[in-house]
Every structure is written in structure tokens, then in C-alpha cells.
Symmetry: C2
Subunit: 337 residues, 2 copies
């Protein structure tokens, strides 16, 4: 444990794929809590695709990270000093305290988690933001019916791997699209997807999807965008529902990409497309967490974590995740309890 606090701040706004030099590792004193404040030590840090958007200085649903500011990010931490009656020393807390080893908080947006219920890291994964994204983004946005075919892109990632399993729980046929053969094997053999393919090695997305979805596509959960999504749209059934969760293929482009216009298909097949942000379901999280935890206990829902060791490797973990190296939820292990 270092005597000082370490933080990653945003050093430069990347064009295209970020590099480690876009972040500065800076040292500062460990903060001291004022009235109604506490200090928490980071145990696990989450790196997620949405953070790429926060590095751009553009209007979005959340403010951009400013140059010199600590990078934003979800954390599981332990309270080490406190003047806050609701957050006593020793409590495990989940929230967004950013890329730093110690953080000061007044409790806003923080919740205490029970380490006896599930491993504390799950608060950043299957029972946290990615889990709620999969749960509500599939069930609330697309309302999948038994027997329907559900396709998910980014299918081995933190969200996608759960989406396919929830589709199976709901009686659907689940087809995954992922970026390497290990991921394809994992989601079909370990997670029970009905089919999957490696988009980096197949000769035709259209042929693979046609083969794996002989009855067409009723629901699409999109983490990726680009040509994969264009191809899915060419194969949708009437009244298909598309949940737009992520567009990771587009986030690192230096200029916007062109693609075929497909709104005529959306019209003729009476398709609904809806973009969502998980925060819109905040008041239903408890329901989602309860049901997801129940499915885990029943053995119906499996999750995998990719753990990078060491706070100093956070930028590396983030960049590798953007490049698709992870299978499951990418975390950084910063300290032991």
C-alpha cells in the first residue's frame, strides 16, 4: 500500500484508439474527510466502453472528463476514514469514484454492498451496471417472446454474455457474434448460446447469420454497430425489436463512417429501434438485481471476470477492453480488503 494516493488523469483527448500516453499517473496526498464526508480505498476498478465517449469534448448524456481531471469509472471500495454517519469505516461501497486509489465522497451516488451476498467484484459486473444493462436493455426494450431468435453482438463481453443467457432463460434462441474463437467457444459451450461466430474470420456475416437464424431475427441487442448491424437489419423479421446498447466499432473512428441506408427495411418490416442508457431504469435496479442474483443461485446465469492486476495497469486494461481482448467483465484489482 502506497503512502500517497495515485490517480490517473486525462492527459490528452485521443483521436481514434486511446493510448497509454493519453493518461497521466499523478501522486497526491491521501485525502482527509471533512464533515459528512468519508474516504474510501479502491479495491476494484471497472473499465467500460462508455468511458471512451467521456474522453471526447462533445455534448453527450454525461459531461466530458476535462483535461487534468481524474478519469471517471465505477469502483468497489472500502471506507478507511469517515465523518459520515451513513458510511462507517470498514463498509464496502460501490459507486463512481474514478481512476484513483483513494477518493473523498459525501455519499452521493454511493451504495453499501453486503460482501456476504456475493463476491464484492460482482457489484461492478453481473449485479452492477453491466448486469442491469443486459437485464433491462433486453427485457424492457425488446420484450423477447419464447421461441423468438435473439442475436447479440459483443456477445462475450460483460453485457453481451448476460444478454444471451437471459434470452435462453426466457425461452429464446440465442445467437452471439464475437471477435475470437475462444469467445465463440465460451459462449456456446459454457454459457449455452445456441450458436455463435467469429466475425473476424467468417467470409460473410450474411451467410453466417442466415445459417444460424433459419427463422430470421426477431430481437437484436447491439453492442457493436457498423457492418454487423447493417447485416442483422437485412435479416430482421416483421415487427423485430432492436435494442441499441453500444456502438463500440464506431467510438474510435477518426471520422464518421458511411454505411448503407436501411430505413426502408425498418419501414417495410415495421421494426422498432431504441437506444437506451441504463440509468433510465435506476428506480427498477433492485428488481433486476434480485432476479439476476436468483438466476445465479439457480445456476442459470454464469458470469466471468477478466482481472488485470495493479492500479498502474488501468489504462492498459481499458485499451485492451476497447480492442476486444476480454471475455467477460474487465476489472482492475487495485487492493485487497
Amino acid at each position: 500500500m502506497s503512502e500517497t494516493n495515485r490517480q490517473f488523469t486525462l492527459a490528452a483527448r485521443p483521436k481514434g484508439m486511446p493510448s497509454e500516453s493519453d493518461f497521466n499517473l499523478v501522486e497526491s496526498p491521501i485525502p482527509t474527510p471533512g464533515a459528512n464526508q468519508f474516504v474510501a480505498r479502491t479495491l476494484y476498478l471497472s473499465v467500460d466502453p462508455y468511458m471512451r465517449g467521456r474522453m471526447n469534448d462533445v455534448k453527450s448524456y454525461a459531461p466530458a472528463v476535462q483535461l487534468g481531471e481524474v478519469m471517471t469509472g465505477g469502483t468497489v471500495s472500502v471506507v478507511t476514514a469517515s465523518n459520515h454517519p451513513g458510511f462507517q469505516v470498514g463498509k464496502i461501497v460501490e459507486g463512481n469514484l474514478g481512476w484513483q486509489e483513494y477518493a473523498l465522497s459525501d455519499g452521493t451516488g454511493m451504495r453499501i454492498i453486503d460482501p456476504d451476498l456475493a463476491p464484492i467484484s460482482t457489484a461492478l459486473g453481473v449485479l452492477g451496471m453491466p448486469g442491469m444493462t443486459a437485464y433491462f436493455g433486453l427485457l424492457e426494450i425488446t420484450n423477447p417472446k419464447p421461441g423468438e431468435t435473439v442475436v447479440v453482438s459483443g456477445a462475450a463481453g460483460a453485457v453481451g454474455s448476460l444478454v444471451g443467457q437471459i434470452a435462453k432463460i426466457k425461452g429464446c434462441r440465442a445467437i452471439g457474434i464475437a471477435g475470437n474463437d475462444d469467445k465463440v467457444r465460451h459462449i456456446t459451450e459454457d454459457l449455452g448460446f445456441d450458436g455463435a461466430f467469429n466475425y473476424k474470420t467468417v467470409s460473410s456475416y450474411h451467410d453466417e447469420l442466415s445459417r444460424l437464424c433459419p427463422n430470421g431475427i426477431d430481437v437484436y441487442f447491439d453492442n457493436v454497430g457498423g457492418e454487423i448491424t447493417d447485416t442483422v437489419i437485412s435479416l430482421v423479421n416483421p415487427r423485430a425489436r432492436l435494442s441499441i446498447c453500444g456502438q463500440i466499432s464506431q467510438y474510435n473512428l477518426e471520422k464518421p463512417e458511411l454505411g448503407p441506408r436501411w430505413l426502408t427495411t425498418i419501414l417495410r418490416s415495421q421494426v422498432r429501434i431504441e437506444g437506451f442508457l441504463v440509468f433510465q431504469f435506476l428506480d427498477q435496479y433492485e428488481t433486476g438485481q434480485r432476479e439476476m442474483a436468483q438466476w445465479i443461485r439457480e445456476g442459470k446465469l454464469k458470469y466471468r471476470e477478466d482481472i488485470m492486476e495493479g492500479f498502474e495497469n488501468t489504462p492498459k486494461a481499458f485499451i485492451q477492453m476497447l480492442q476486444g481482448a476480454n471475455t467477460g467483465k474487465q476489472l482492475v484489482h487495485v487492493a485487497d480488503l
Copy 2:
């Protein structure tokens, strides 16, 4: 009145914009009704954008017109001979009897209209398919709220001109996009749109839409597609709703057009896009017709018809409509009652 029946059949499948030579004018005997059949003489014929799709030999929501077959199309007709107890001689009927002067029918898909309630031609316009398209495509698909900004493309057409007026009735700001200055004048001065522009003469769609929609765009009713739609999407507010009714800019392209990928905006702004076909609201038509007729009686809803004289000019009317020459509903007047 001719002694024989005249029909337009499909002579060739057009690439791009149809021409008059894609249709054959053929003569045949006036049919004689069998048991439970009637013969009706066409009074008005409707020409509509959707017919362009039926000329292509591709899978769609409705079968393609075959070469040599009579072109499909909505009609208002009078029963001239009948062995059908439900359709007596002299009754005025609305349905889809196609591009011909006389048609045989067993009554399927036909309804009797009351000529005392409204001019019979309105059964093909404001109280028919275009009217129901505007009514349900706006109200059911986008649920506009008072104070919201509603943008409609193809705003002077049979559907668009009604959409903007219904938006006004619902307390919204209505902005139209149309293809000549007369149309712009008509929808703002005669129909009460809050603003409009001629997309063929402005230097920047973005600048015009920004100026006319200072509070952003909450609802978009799309008849056109292409670059106009891309620009609208760049200006949508969070939780905007897009109703995809038509894509007339795309129907006559010889190969699919490329455009910027905008699903990242759909995601970040939590936008819903829905394609619809008016037939999905068939069981609610009566409600829509009753409310639209009431608005017409109250002077809140105006409609305009563009009448082409003479059955032999039907292909010309159709092509001019596709080229945007009409303001309001394009009809062909075939015969007097």
C-alpha cells in the same frame, strides 16, 4: 364512357424513376358479375408512393405486381352491375380495385361510403389511407406532447400536410420540409405550420432546422429519408421519437445509397425509431375517421386534392407525384357519378 374496359398493366420493371412506357394501356370487355360478385366503375383513382415498391420484384409486406398484371391502387367506384346482396347497383364503394375503369369484385376489402357525409374523393385521402397514416403514424407511434417540436418531411404531401396540422391540434410546434416555395407557402400560410423550408434551395439543412427548431426536435415524421433524415437525427432531443412512414428519396435509386452511421446518436439520446404500415391500425380506423371528420367540420383540419383528369393520364399522375409535383393528395378523376 367507353364501350370497353381500359386497364393499365405493368409492362416493365423500372430501374430508378418509372416512365410511362413501364405501363401498357390495354382494352378488354367490361366484365360481367358471377354469383356473389359485382362490377364497379372507377370514379377516382389514387396514386401513392407505396406503389413504387410494388413494381419491384422483391419480398415486401405485400406481393409485387407481376408483369402483365393490372397495377394495384386505391379506388372510389360506383356499382354498375351486381349479384352481391351487400353491394347493390348505385352504391359508392372504396377499396383497391387497381388501375382500371371497370373491375369485378366479390366484396373482399371493399367498403360502402356515404356520399352525403363528405365528398367521395376524401375516402382516398383525408378519410382514407393517407389520413389514417397521418393520424396513427403520428399519434400512436410518437405520442406527441403539447409544447414539443414536431418536424415532418414531405410536408405538403397527402400525409405530411395532415401530420403537421394534427401536431398543431395537439399543441405542438410543427415544422415542415417541402420541395418548392409554393408548398412552403401553402403549409405555413394556409395550414398553420409554424415554419417550413424548401430543401431544394436552402444552403444547409442543418442551419434551417436549427433556426426553426430552437428547442431541438422531439418528434420526426419521416416520408422522405436520406440526408434530410440524417440532419434531423443530428438535432434530436433526448427521448425523441421518429416515425418512419416513407422513404421516397430512396425508392427510385438504382443502387442503395450510403449515409453517415448515426446509431451512436440514437443510443446517447435514447431515441426510439419505429417503422409502421398503416394496415397495422386497421381495427382502429373507425376511431381515426371519426376524429378526423370532426376536426374537418370544426375547421381545424384542411386538405387539398390535386386532380389529374382522365384515366389515360394515370401513369403521368403517378410519376409526377413521385417527382414531388403535387401539393396535397394526388388523385385521378376517371369518371363522373
